[in-house]
Symmetry: C2
Subunit: 331 residues, 2 copies
């Protein structure tokens, strides 16, 4: 079977296949254990618009908490979640980037409150239950179909060639672990992300969430966490936003390194175009000669096709037959 | 070949082989990815007396720094290191356990100062250079021969049966990574330990040590770090001291879990007996029915034998021919 079938035959695909060949064959081949590839998750392995999946999960949890506590329902972000006023959430994050954390603090406190006192296993069960029924707001499909098929193929190809593939996301590590094996073939020990504060509960002999937020795995924290987890410098990094720049630079600093930046620029196939939050990354990619992956130009298919006859194949928003495209698909 | 040849045929060895059989065969077999075993390092995988190996490394670094800076040479712990007054170091740690951190603070500051500004690769090179020449103070042999042969055999057996083996030490993670593959077959990504504060240096596009100590991986932090790294509860944990109790309890909480506590109780074969620092662990092992590994009774051999004809085989302190022992070696 042709490698990377959902990729068009463009210089981007060639750059990826060249890297894989250089690292796995010939005089520059790396030992298997040094073939490390890291992938951002939100906006890289699956869609992050109109809102990150973890935020969808949190909004449901906050709305549920507000439903049984009128006092809570009057405070943010519980009010926003229970009334569907998601603009408040976006504004809180925008204010943070403008240097005003007055709304971010209650937001983080509410993120922590959702899991406080729960065990790591209880949280994993809640995430699985959410993903069993949640539907992507615009695609109208379960989130497993909001993953990017070309990058799933790249993950598979790399592992076939002896790479270890890690997810290195700003999202919560323990939110991702329950589904990454199933969706991406990435095991829990290969998921790097942000972390809520944890404690060991002697009574339960189990690991539980405490009352703190531990760290945000974004920006310069990403290469630090990659090193902390793996003890290696990756030879391939894939990201899509400003928060991925240091991680991409870390991989680009490998003698054979390749940095890939996914650009959402396709107006037609259910993945909305946006550069907001990626301005610095795009400028750095140009300056450093990193490879930009254009959703529009490099991908023959964007999302996986649900199985024939499944309840999902006719959901609105999912395109079984994308409109004809004049660019050649990879043969 | 018989499994675990350096173990005597005791109930301890039987308990270990029973666990391996239960986890890998029959109705209770775990999927390969859930076969997780965690090992403390100092005092468990290698000797920690008369001083932890990392402390030996630090003393050399501090003495070197003091040699070129008279002001530094007058302050602790540099004075202690350069004059060989190691009692000061032991007293600083004893004071800490008595609630007085007045000497611990300069000690930690000096630990941080050794690596500040260096890259992770530079530190790894220094550790390798140290281990190439350093000699265990009483065994008179390189530290690779101060490892416990029975536990090296256990690591090998577990990996042969599909386990993933992790080191979970209170020692510095990045001090261990340069040698764990060579000494124990444990890859860098499977080394969990304490951490100096790290930062991403944009200029170098590399991960470097900052001016902080990040966290001590000991006591209740051990299960937290095991979860953070692996996303699994281990089915086997091996430790030797009070700081290992929560990690041992975490494994014991697994439905098939086995907790092993190594007790240093052999007066004759170069591994000095001590229970100091293990009092709570021994009491908990008795109360909880954990398995205590007696160096004296359960191990037919303690340290690996240097290769015939090597420069090390005749070093003082190393016993090629231990005194005759009336207990039967495992056949």
């Amino acid at each position: 079977m042709t490698a990377l079938p959902s990729w068009r035959d463009t210089p981007t695909r060639t750059a990826i296949l060249d890297l894989v060949a250089a690292v796995t064959t010939g005089p520059g081949a790396l030992p298997v254990e040094e073939r490390v590839a890291v992938f951002d998750n939100d906006g890289t392995l699956w869609a992050e618009k109109p809102m990150p999946v973890q935020l969808h999960f949190l909004v449901e949890q906050w709305a549920r908490a507000a439903a049984t506590d009128p006092d809570l329902a009057r405070t943010e972000p519980y009010r926003a979640a229970s009334t569907g006023d998601l603009a408040w959430l976006g504004a809180a994050i925008d204010k943070h980037y403008a240097g005003d954390d007055s709304d971010l603090r209650p937001l983080i406190a509410a993120v922590v409150a959702v899991q406080e006192g729960r065990s790591v296993g209880e949280y994993a069960d809640e995430v699985r239950a959410f993903l069993d029924t949640a539907v992507h707001p615009t695609l109208g499909l379960p989130y497993r179909y909001a993953t990017y098929q070309p990058l799933r193929e790249l993950l598979d190809l790399l592992r076939e060639r002896g790479f270890t593939t890690y997810i290195t996301s700003g999202g919560d590590r323990d939110f991702m672990r329950p589904f990454t094996e199933d969706y991406y073939g990435v095991a829990p020990e290969q998921v790097v992300g942000s972390s809520l504060g944890l404690a060991f509960d002697e009574e339960k002999a189990d690991v539980v969430y405490g009352s703190t937020f531990s760290f945000l795995d974004d920006g310069p924290e990403k290469p630090v966490r990659i090193w902390s987890r793996t003890g290696r410098r990756p030879v391939l990094a894939v990201g899509n936003s400003n928060g991925d720049v240091p991680m991409l630079a870390y991989a680009a600093g490998h003698p054979q390194g390749l940095a890939l930046l996914v650009r959402h620029d396709d107006p037609d196939r259910g993945d909305p175009p946006y550069d907001a939050g990626a301005e610095q990354a795009l400028a750095t990619a140009t300056a450093q000669g990193w490879t930009v992956v254009s959703v529009r130009d490099d991908w023959a298919q964007v999302f996986p096709v649900p199985p024939e006859g499944s309840a999902h194949e006719t959901r609105p928003g999912h395109r079984r037959a994308p409109r004809p495209d004049p660019r050649p698909a990879h043969p």
